[in-house]
Amino acid sequence: MQQLTDLFPSPSIGPFGRRLRQPRGGRIPVTVVTGFLGAGKTTLVRNFLGRPEGYGTALVVNEFGEVGVDDALLRASTDETVLLGNGCVCCTTRSDLQVALRGLVADRERGIIPHFRRVLIETSGLADPGPVLQTFATDRALGGEFYLEVAVTVADAVNGADTLDWSAEARKQAILADRLIVTKIDIAEASALEKLTARLRELNPRAEIVTAVKGEADPALLTEAPAPSLGGVDNEGARGFLAEAAEAEHSDGIGSFVLRQKTPMAWATFARTMEVLTSLRGEDLLRVKGFLDVEGCRGPVLVQFVQHLADPPVELESWPGGTRETRLVFITRNLPEKAVRDLFAAVSAVSTA
């Protein structure tokens, strides 16, 4: 069977398309902000919109009332969309997030609303962020148009630790975040802050934890993904996945682990293993994200899964930090690291036999 690259070959295009300078390529970056009730999500978002870096943001909320759009900022509105100052637009997900996002893209294309540069989704209260992340995890839905740049969870230092104790949704928000922003540190007891930080670190050892006071935070925290952490064990030349310190399983049966491998992997091995995993245990794969060193590819191949859905893989121009190594983060429920490792090993053995 002829491939596109046979008809129209290119030294700069790999099996996953044009090699990208950054993962989102030409897609619209999306920031998802979740947070505990009263943690100060809205203050953080409003502060961001008011800064020059917030220019050209399309804000998606459940209800206008929640974000408290200032009358002075309001320029024009329809039932579902309002224009804000600063080239921003705000719309509600009254019907459905996908419908709202499609509407934004169509209106942007037609010049009806400003040509926004990013989408910021503020989820309501203690929502499970899973379904929102899932929206962007497949090209069948919106993955071809949008790219989930960063998922941020806001927790307040005063009540955060207690919230984590009683709320499974809060724990899931913390576990699935790329970045955790701790607010109200100015009015919290030092011991409460310590307790919250320790609890967050335990739940999500890989996320960046930063603090904010009265919504004042570096705008980049809402627009840029944390740099992938590097380093770790050094077993140059070893075959198969390397061992990394095992992590304890949290309450709710949710745990996370990292698979690392120094040697390139056949794409078929990865794809087939993930096919088995997603078909048998899709709902327990809360999030899988990382860089793959794929045989025949120059750059790292970025892969992302949310449950049974896969974001289209993209190849980047170069390896972050110059370190060539497969590094996959799994956040799973009742699915132990060993089972995943064994499955990769088994598929690999069968594939190469």
């Binding site: 596109l4 008809l7 129209f8 070959p9 290119s10 030294p11 700069s12 295009i13 398309g17 044009r18 990208l20 300078r21 390529g25 030409g26 050209g56 320029r75 024009a76 509105s77 329809t78 969309t81 224009l83 080239g87 637009v89 209106d107 294309e109 037609r110 010049g111 009806i112 609303i113 400003p114 040509h115 540069r117």
Partner: protein, 418 residues
Amino acid sequence: MSANDQSPLASGANESIEWNFKLIGHHELGGFGGMGEGMAVQVAPDGRRIIWLAHESAPKNFTGVDVSDPRNPKMVVQTALPHNNVRSNSLELTGNILAVAYQTKQHGQTPAGFELFDVSKPEEPKSISFFDCSGPKSRGVHQLWFADGEYVHMAAGAADFIPNNDLDDQCYRIIDVRNPSKPEEVGRWWLPGTRQGDNVPPPVRHQKPLPDMGFRAHNTNVYPQRPDRAYLGYLDGGMLILDISNKAQPQLISRWDHSPPYSGFTHTLVPFFNRNLLIMTDESTVDRAADWPKLVWVLDNRDETNPIPIATCPMPPVDTWGNRGGRFGAHNLHENTPSPHCWYSEDVIVGTFFNGGLRAYDLSNPYQPKEIAAFVPPAPPLSRAGAIQLNDLFIDERKIVYTVDRIIGGLYILEMGF
């Protein structure tokens, strides 16, 4: 009724767009910021990086801008034309030699031809020679290509070129400039039937409502990968590939003419050699998109004797963009000009679309080009178009993008973010 009229959010339509391009510099060129379609980057003997820019029309001839620091562009020289009946809308550079095209308003006027300048000292361009193309039915040179330091390929009239129709007055001419002080013509090609005395009938002219724009050469690109091929846009004649292995007698290899039903003015033809593709534009030449659609076409060129159109690059909807002011539609492309100071890309197309601004397309899948970046600045102050009219672009090997406004806005300098 346009979409704008229907929406209470209509004010958004006139906001500027900076999507995956970042504006880092802007120069209004001393108030003479109506720019043509000649742009070339030189690294001068003293190490400064100069971009040479052709003007859309008189009174200015060409302008050099020091873009060593693209955030702080400095105009170093701006030259004047002898009178207002001539324009120099095209230029190219090899090494330190700048070739500038002169086209007059009327047949028989002068100067009609091209001039070579030594720009080793950018502040002091020195004329080396002038090649005269004037004649009773000639307006001189509209566009030229000068990439190998040896030959100028151009769309030009000639003293002895008498067309059957006055609109067909510029053919493809090849000029040997290996001795730059004494340029000599070595070959010529024209669409059969356009010159008086041809033994075939003249081409059928475009009938109303299509505009009759003329069967004449526009871009005449030749690349080192195939020095035996010339890639021509031939306005109402469509696109052409010529065999120029014998420059004295160019031979037609293939021609794709989509008009009618399209409205001609085929402008640029860029081959992507590795990818067996051709990228072609039709220029929009009428305000308010009256000649829509003017497109960027992708052609399958696996068999150069039979190029097949397989896609066009998506443009924003004409109902909201057509009335924004001035022209809306395709024009120039980044042409992978063979120069050490030019970015080379066969997987991304970047082009200018007048009020549609500057747009970039991912060509990973040539059947489905996908827009990945756009730059549409606000209307420049005092622009009679009332909207930006981005005319041409050049991307240097540092991936810095230069683009110019056709009316008054001057030079915009951008970084690519995709």
